[in-house]
Structure formats: C-alpha cells, structure tokens
C-alpha cells in the first residue's frame, strides 16, 4: 500500500527532536528503535500515527516519536486512545504503557479496551517494577520481592499478564523481548496488521531498579534452551529442536526428542487461533517450562470502532440524515398564533 508519500519514510522520520532521557542501558531504547524501524515500512503516511501513553518510564515514549502524540495521565491511555480511535477510525493509534500503568492503576481500562476490541495497538513494557517512582514492586513483580515499599518482601501474587488479557477476551496477544530486536519487529508488524486491539507484552529490563529480571530468557545460554518461539502451524519445539512441548493427558510436559522420549509427531503443533492452546502457552512458566514468545493469539473479529461507524451508517440509512428542525419539532406540538389562540400542531411554515 506504500505510495509516493510513504515510500521514502525512514527510521529518522519517526525520531523526534527531543533528547531521549531514559537511563543509559534501559531496555526502552531498543523498543523505541524497533518501533521507529517498523512504522516506516507499514505504508502509512506519518501524520496518521498517534502514540498515546499513560504515566511511567515507558509513557515518555510519545515525546521521542515524531508523530502525533499524547502523554496522558496514569493508567488512562487505553481510554483516551479508545475515544480517539472511535472519533477517527482511520488513524493508527498506538499505546505505550507499562506494568504499573496498564495492570494496576489502569487495569480496568486495559481489560475493557480488550473486551471491546477497539482497534488500537497496546505495547505493554513489562519490567516488573515501578521505575519512575523509584523502585516499588509492581503487579507483575514476583512474590517476596524486596523493594523500597516492601523492605522485607512483597506478599501479593503477581498477575500473569497473558492470562489476564486472554481472560479479557483479547483477539491479538503476543510476547516479545526488548533485546530480541528482529523478533520484536516481526511481532510489532503483526500487531500493526491486526484490525482489533493488539496487545504486545514486551519484557523490558530496568537496569536500575530490577536489573536481570528476564535473564531466564535473555542470558546467552538461555536464549535457545529456555525460549520457545511460537510459530503458527509449526511444532512447539525449542533448544534448536531438541526438545518440545507435548501433552500428558491434559497437562503440558517437556519432552526430550534427542533422548528419544518422543518424536516430533508427538509435539503439539502451535495454532495461534486456538483458545485452549493460548491458555496453555500463557501458563508455560519457568523454570519447569521454556518461556514462549511470539504471537500467542490472533483471531479476527470486528473492530469496535468499525461496528460503531456501521451502526451510525445503518441508522442514517434507516432514518435519513437527521434534520435538526425535525428533531426539535418532535412530540406533541402546539402553536400560539399572533392572536393568542392556541391550537394543536406546528405553525404552518414548520414541518
């Protein structure tokens, strides 16, 4: 769909003139570069992009994108983005949010945006910590986390973000990792192409307050052995095909193909449209299982804003484009003549 206006767009066109002020070494830099790398290739004029955010480190994102941008208030980005998308369905509305913003103070807006399937893309930067407020535990922090606000350990269980959004009825769910840039870009491209709400969780390292939160995935030795790349129609293999996920009754288990525990035919074939498999993938948790990344669920359902527009259009066809004069003259009318006489109905010059 690229035309003359969009063909020559490059990463630089999407970089704003603002100095990027995340901490050196922050995972947000890689995500910013990935997004700036993906947008030019989507074949969409630059002025159609809007990046909306809430509050937190991740929510500084719009300032660094040379697009229309809206840095809103804590937790409310999905609600503001929904209103924008409803009023202007042709815009490409992206939300940058974090685990505190999206899962705690803004949890309600996130789940309802997903339930409605509004056509916005939500990038949830999960660093499992509150960074901007200087290191309190977040709703995705592991139990027992020692932080500024939990000096002897947190007591509450974390959300499993994938389970949460699947429970909310998300039509597109994916997980990516900040430093796996080519894969992250692929996932973002898939999200961009999805008509309804696209939710992408991005593991993002906060090297100041929660360094190493995702070493289970990102350490060199774990990148193949502990990471399962989900690919539609392909068997759920990892560790360079040496191991896979199979079912033992209704429970998933890791099978070692190299040791002859199973053959590739025994391994589950990944289907991103299958609801049950999505739940299974969401609950493959380390250390027992590898961490799945990629598209966890992708099903096409009508986008909310398109349904809203269609409903308005149907009403216009059914009732005609509304006449304000007719509207004001609805109901029982009476007329007072110049002589003061009252009679039923409108004055003759009115409908």
């Amino acid at each position: 769909m690229a035309d003359a206006a969009t063909a020559e767009l490059t990463l630089k066109d999407f970089a704003s003139d603002q100095e990027v002020r995340w901490c050196p070494g922050c995972g947000d830099y890689a995500i910013l570069k990935a997004v700036q790398g993906v947008f030019p290739g989507l074949g969409i004029p630059k002025e159609r992009f809007v990046v909306v955010s809430g509050i937190g480190c991740s929510s500084r994102f719009p300032y660094y994108m040379n697009t229309f941008g809206f840095h809103t208030i804590h937790g409310r980005a999905p609600a503001i983005a929904s209103g924008l998308k409803l009023s202007r369905p042709e815009l490409e509305v992206w939300v940058a949010t974090g685990d505190g913003d999206a899962m705690s103070i803004g949890g309600n807006h996130l789940i309802h945006c997903l339930r409605r399937n509004v056509g916005v893309k939500i990038m949830m930067f999960n660093n499992r910590i509150y960074g901007l407020t200087k290191g309190q535990y977040s709703p995705t922090s592991e139990r027992g986390k020692r932080t500024a606000s939990t000096p002897v350990g947190s007591l509450d269980n974390p959300f499993n973000p994938l389970s949460l959004v699947l429970g909310a009825g998300a039509t597109f769910v994916a997980r990516a990792v900040d430093i796996f840039v080519p894969h992250l870009k692929q996932v973002l491209q898939r999200a961009a192409a999805h008509p309804g709400t696209a939710y992408v969780e991005i593991y993002q390292n906060c090297n100041i307050f929660n360094d190493g939160a995702f070493t289970q995935v990102t350490d060199k030795e774990n990148r193949t052995s502990q990471v399962l790349y989900l690919e539609h129609g392909e068997p759920m293999l990892f560790a360079e095909g040496r191991r896979g996920i199979a079912l033992d009754g209704l429970r998933p288990k890791v099978v070692d193909l190299e040791a002859g525990e199973a053959t590739v035919d025994d391994v589950l074939v990944w289907d991103e449209t299958d609801r049950t498999l999505a739940w299974l993938a969401a609950n493959l948790l380390p250390p027992e299982f590898p961490t799945p990344i990629g598209v966890v669920r992708a099903v096409e359902e009508p986008a909310y804003e398109q349904e809203v527009v269609a409903q308005i259009e149907r009403e216009r066809q059914r009732l005609g484009d509304g006449s304000l004069d007719d509207l004001l003259h609805r109901g029982d009318l009476w007329t007072v003549g110049a002589d003061g006489q009252v009679r039923e109905g409108a004055t003759p010059d009115q409908p």
Binding site: S16, Q18, K46, E47, R48, F49, V50, V52, P62, Y63, T67, F68, G69, F70, H71, T72, I73, R76, A79, I80, A81, S82, G83, L84, K85, L86, S87, R88, E90, L91, N108, H109, V308, Q311, I312, E315, R316, R318, G320, D321, G322, L324, L327, L328, H329, R330, G331, D332, L333, W334, T335, V336, G337, A338, G340, V342, E344, A346, T347, Q350
Partner: protein
C-alpha cells in the same frame, strides 16, 4: 392576581369554576405509574394551552416494597393561565393511591384541598406498612380537606371484567381510572392520552383497549356519579406566538448538544457512565445516531471523560456527563483537559449530598467542586442552566466557549431541572449561533501553544494533518512550543496564561440583566441555576406589593460577567438563595467584598416561592 383553590366554597350542584392556576399531585406506589399519569396530564394540559411546570419525586429504589413509605412516588404539576416559573409550593389536589402515599404527601396539601384516595388500598396491612395506627379515613384526621373516597381498584376490575386480562394486569390500569376522573374535574380532553396509549401498546391492542376503557370509565364515573360538586377550568395562558412543545431538562440538553454539533459541523461524541440523574442524557443521545452522534458507555467515569478527551484530540465535539460523584472521579482527567487546552464540555447534573447522598433529590452543592476540585491551579469556565428549556441554550453556549477558547467547560444542571418539564417555544435553526470553527492546517510556522491574540486559544491541530505532528500531555508545557518544561518562570507564565484565557471570556458574555430596578435599590436577590423559578415568583410577588426588590440570575459562574461587582454595589443588601450551604455567597463575598446574606438550604428539594418571599419581606421590614 391568582385565585387559590381554597378561596372557593364548594357548590352543591356541579358547576364550572375558573381558576388562574392549580397544583395537582399524583402520589402512589412506585409500581402505580404515577410518573406516567402525571406526564399524561401534563402533556394534555400543554395542548390545552396552559403554562405549566412539573416536579417528579421518586425514590432511589426501583421497586421498594409495595405499600411502604420508601416506595412512594409522586408527580406534581402546576397548570396556569399565565406565565409561571415553578411547579408550585403546595398542591390544591392530591391523588393518593395508598395509605403510604397519603401519609407522605398530606402534610403538603393546602387546607380545604381536594383529596382523592383509592379506598381499596386502605386496609390494615397497608396501614401498618405506612405506619398508621388507625384508618385515617375514619379517625377524623382528614377533616379540613375535601375528601373523595373512590374504590379505584374495584371499579377498574369491574370495567375490565369481560376481558381476558388477569387480575394483576387489570389492576395495573387503575392509574388511568384516576387520570380519567382528574381529566373530568379539569375539563380536559381524553384524545391525547388515548392516542398515546394506542401508540404505546401498538403490539398489545388488548392492553391499549383496556387502558383506554379504564380512562373513559374514570371520566364517566366522575361525570355521572356527581361525586364532585365542581369542575375546575384553567384557561390557556397568553404566550408569545410560535410553536411549542413540552421539554425535559435532560432532553433539552441532548437537543442542545445535537444543535451545537450541527451548527459547528463537528461530530458529537458523548462519553458517559450511567448515574442518576444524568443517565437520561446518555439514553437520549444514543437514539440520535442518524445525526452522527457517537455515544460511548464507558467502563467507569474516568474512562468516560478520558474517551471524550481522546475524541476531542481527534476533532470531535466532545461531551462527558455525570453527577457529583462521577465528577469527583473525573477530576484528574479534567485537569489534563485544562493542561492540554482541548475543548470539552463536562455536564454535572447535580444531586443531593456528599458520597452517594440523595441520588434522586436535587441540590446545587457541586459549584465549589467544579471550580476548585482539582489539583494545581486549574481554572475553567462554569455555566449553569436555570430551567428545563434553558438547558438547550446553555448547551450551545458551553460548546461555543469550549471550541472558541480551547478549554474544558463545566455545565451545571441539577435533578430538579433534569427531570422537570416546561413548555418550550422552539427556536428557528437559522437563528441558533454559528459555531463553525476551523482546524489548524498550516504547517509553516506551526507551534502547538501559539495563541490567538484575542482569545488566547491555542490551535486545534488534529491528527491526520500533514506537517502538524506534535506531542501534548499533562506535563507543564513550554510557552508556544508545547515542549515539556520545568522552568520556573515558564510555569508562572503558563499558569497566568491559562487563567487569563478563562478570565477573557468575561468580555464575550452579556452584561448582567437586572430584573426590577437597574439603577439599584434596597435589596437585590441573586440566584443561579434552578432556583430561578422560585426567585422570580417571589420577587415578582413582592414587587407587586411595591417592595423595593430586584433580582439577577447568573448563567456564567466563571468568569462572572464583567459588570457584576458594580451591579452588586448598587444595592444596599444582597440576598442569595441557593441549594447548598452558601457556596456562591462565599465566592461573591471573596471576590467583591459584598456582605451577601446567604439563604442556604439543603433538604434535597427546591425552594418554595413563599420561602423566598418571606425572606425578602423579612429583610425589607425586619
């Protein structure tokens, strides 16, 4: 001028007597259809040409236990042959469908007033539910009223005895028996209501037929039994020439927003979450999709205002509507709208009390909340509607200010006018204000916070416009560029600019209109919002007696009209009735150093004319 009902001696034979005005109250159980009965009487009276004003009074519970005091629902209507401003203080006629309705409403009935009761409901069980120790029909407590005992349920069942309807369905028609009797008393035609019933029950002709039969039976019963000695006549009021309809406050608001959308060319977007008494605005606008209206029932109050802000960023005429508790939840987002300087109308249909308070009762106690209930220095314009029909004009005015000044505007209504009705002379569409406003399109030299020299409005630069890519947000903005800025001098300057922008609206609103003696005098009554009717009635009555009292009524509460301080100074004393604990009085004292006498009341119900009249007399003679 007016002849009250109690001044007349009932006649032996049926006679026709003319009255200038009558106040009628229908009261019954929540399930008895009293709102519907009252509305039918109102609509018919409007078509007869009476001026009128209505006051519904219903419980917060949808269906409180039948027969209890908590379940009593009432509808009061005042009809007159002259211009009136309120639904009246005390009823001349009370229809009580059960003992609880009688007990709750009898204290208001005028001495010698007409009282119609449904005797079928007057039994031991219902006496207990209403807290009566003895049958009030027998114990002499109703002496001093003209009591008419009618077995409404029995008569209704008898009317319908040859139908297939079950007893429950038959009994549901009994309110129309009462309505038929009242129609006879006031010489009203039945055809409006019969036509309405046929429309309403188009799919159930048996129900339409049953209700029509019962309505006619009630009318004929009154006609033939000679139970009433008098028929009352209220002549049409003399009104300005034009086409009229009856309008509810919330309906007028909805129509005003649709009109503003049409006159501005901007699509209307309403973000709302259900809350009493604002919900009917959402219901009504949801029915106007053919006007390009988008209504978004959000997951909560915060999402409702945020979605509206998002829509405004996109270039829609954005509105959010709620009541006090919802406005409290929206406060942070309203502050965001102040910061990003986008147009937004926030409707607050005020109700009683803090917290959940009195959801179905009225109050004006959110004035200070909407002015000051946000963090930081965050001024915004505030307007108040003064009557059901005024809601239409105020909606247009709120949209005008919001789009012209790029600012969130609060529109205050309240439960009294939201659910009240009055005749409305329909405006001509071409006479409505022109609200067209251009989006910014010029990329050359564009800066998001470059201001208009006159209004200080920043440009409305909507996404999708090539070359205008920019970022807005809640962090303090640098003047002109809109970049994030922590510079101390810049923060002072931007704070001053936001305040000055709102203050300049005072140049753009009409001067204060003094009703009475513009040159000044002994006493000025100041009002705002829904107290206008009661204040007008009281001041007019006092002036007819030659008392030196004038009144003003404020639509613009922030900024105030530029001449307000000077107008206040022309009067020796200032009386300010308001349904709160003195909020506007506090503002006027603080702003103008005027020794305002506050007449504050928070009973969850509107002022009576007589209360204000008495206070005026007291101040002038006391």
């Amino acid at each position: 001028m007016t002849t009250a009902l109690e001044d007349r001696e009932p006649k032996r034979a049926v006679a026709r007597e003319r009255f200038h005005e009558v106040v009628i109250r229908f009261a019954g159980d929540s399930g008895d259809g009293m709102q519907l009965t009252g509305t039918q009487f109102t609509n018919t009276s409007a078509l007869v040409g009476n001026d009128l004003s209505t006051l519904p009074d219903f419980p917060a519970e949808i269906r409180a236990p039948a027969g209890t005091m908590a379940g009593v629902s009432a509808f009061q209507v005042r009809i007159a042959d002259h211009d009136i401003h309120t639904p009246g203080d005390a009823p001349d006629v009370l229809v009580a469908m059960n003992p609880a309705a009688l007990k709750k409403n009898l204290p208001d009935l005028k001495p010698n007033g007409v009282l119609i009761v449904n005797t079928d409901e007057f039994n031991g069980r219902n006496f207990a539910k209403a807290g009566y120790d003895a049958d009030p029909l027998q114990d002499g407590s109703l002496e001093g009223f003209r009591l008419y005992e009618v077995a409404l349920t029995t008569l209704t069942r008898r009317t319908l005895e040859d139908t297939e309807l079950d007893t429950k369905a038959k009994d549901r028609c009994k309110n129309f028996f009462a309505l038929g009797m009242v129609y006879w008393m006031f010489s009203r035609p039945l055809d409006k209501t019969t036509a309405w019933l046929e429309r309403k029950f188009a799919k159930r002709p048996d129900l339409a037929d049953a209700n029509v039969r019962v309505l006619k039976a009630g009318f004929n019963f009154a006609d033939t039994t000679e139970i009433f000695q008098v028929r009352y006549e209220v002549e049409p009021a003399v009104s300005a020439p034009g086409t009229y309809r009856n309008v509810l406050g919330n309906s007028a608001l909805a129509l005003g927003f649709v009109a503003a959308s049409r006159r501005s060319g901007l699509p209307l977007f309403l973000g709302a979450y259900p809350i009493t008494p604002a919900s009917s605005l959402l219901h009504e606008l949801a029915g106007y999709k053919q006007f390009g209206v988008t209504t978004f029932q959000a997951e909560d109050e915060i999402a409702a205002v945020c979605a509206a802000i998002g829509a405004s960023f996109g270039g829609a005429l954005a509105v959010t509507a709620s009541s006090g508790p919802g406005i409290a939840l929206k406060a942070e987002a309203i502050g965001l709208a102040v910061m990003i300087e986008l147009p937004l109308v926030i409707v607050d249909v005020q109700r009683g009390g803090p917290s959940t308070g009195l959801p179905t009762k009225t109050e004006q106690s959110d004035l200070l909340q909407v002015l000051f209930g946000r963090n930081g220095e965050s001024p915004l314009p505030v307007l108040a509607a003064s009557s059901p029909k005024d809601c239409f004009d105020v909606a247009l005015e709120a949209c005008r200010i919001a789009t012209r000044y790029m600012v969130p505007v609060v529109l205050l209504s309240d439960g009294y006018i939201a659910n009240g009705t009055e005749p409305w002379r329909l405006p001509k569409v071409e006479d409505l204000p022109d609200l067209r406003r251009d989006f910014h399109t010029q990329a050359e030299g564009f800066a998001p916070y470059q201001r208009d020299g006159e209004t200080l409005a920043r440009p409305w630069a909507v996404p999708g416009t090539p070359g205008l890519e920019h970022r807005i947000g809640g962090l303090e903005k640098e003047d002109v560029t809109g970049n994030v800025s922590y510079d101390p001098a810049n923060h002072q300057r931007m704070t001053d600019l936001r305040a000055e922008k709102v203050a300049r609206i005072a140049r753009d609103i009409p001067p204060t209109e003094v009703h009475g003696d513009p040159e000044g005098g002994a006493l000025l009554v100041v009002g705002w919002g829904s107290t206008e009717g009661a204040i007008t009635g009281a001041v007019n009555a006092a002036r007819r007696e030659g008392l030196p009292v004038s009144r003003i009524h404020l639509r613009h509460l922030n900024p105030f009209p530029a001449d307000l301080g000077e107008v206040l100074a022309r009067f020796d004393r200032v009386l300010l009735p308001e349904m709160n604990s003195g909020q506007l009085a506090l503002l006027l004292r603080g702003r103008y150093l005027v020794d305002v006498t506050s007449y504050a009341k928070v009973e969850g119900k509107p002022f009576f004319r007589t209360e204000i009249y008495d206070r005026i007399k007291e101040m002038l003679h006391g």
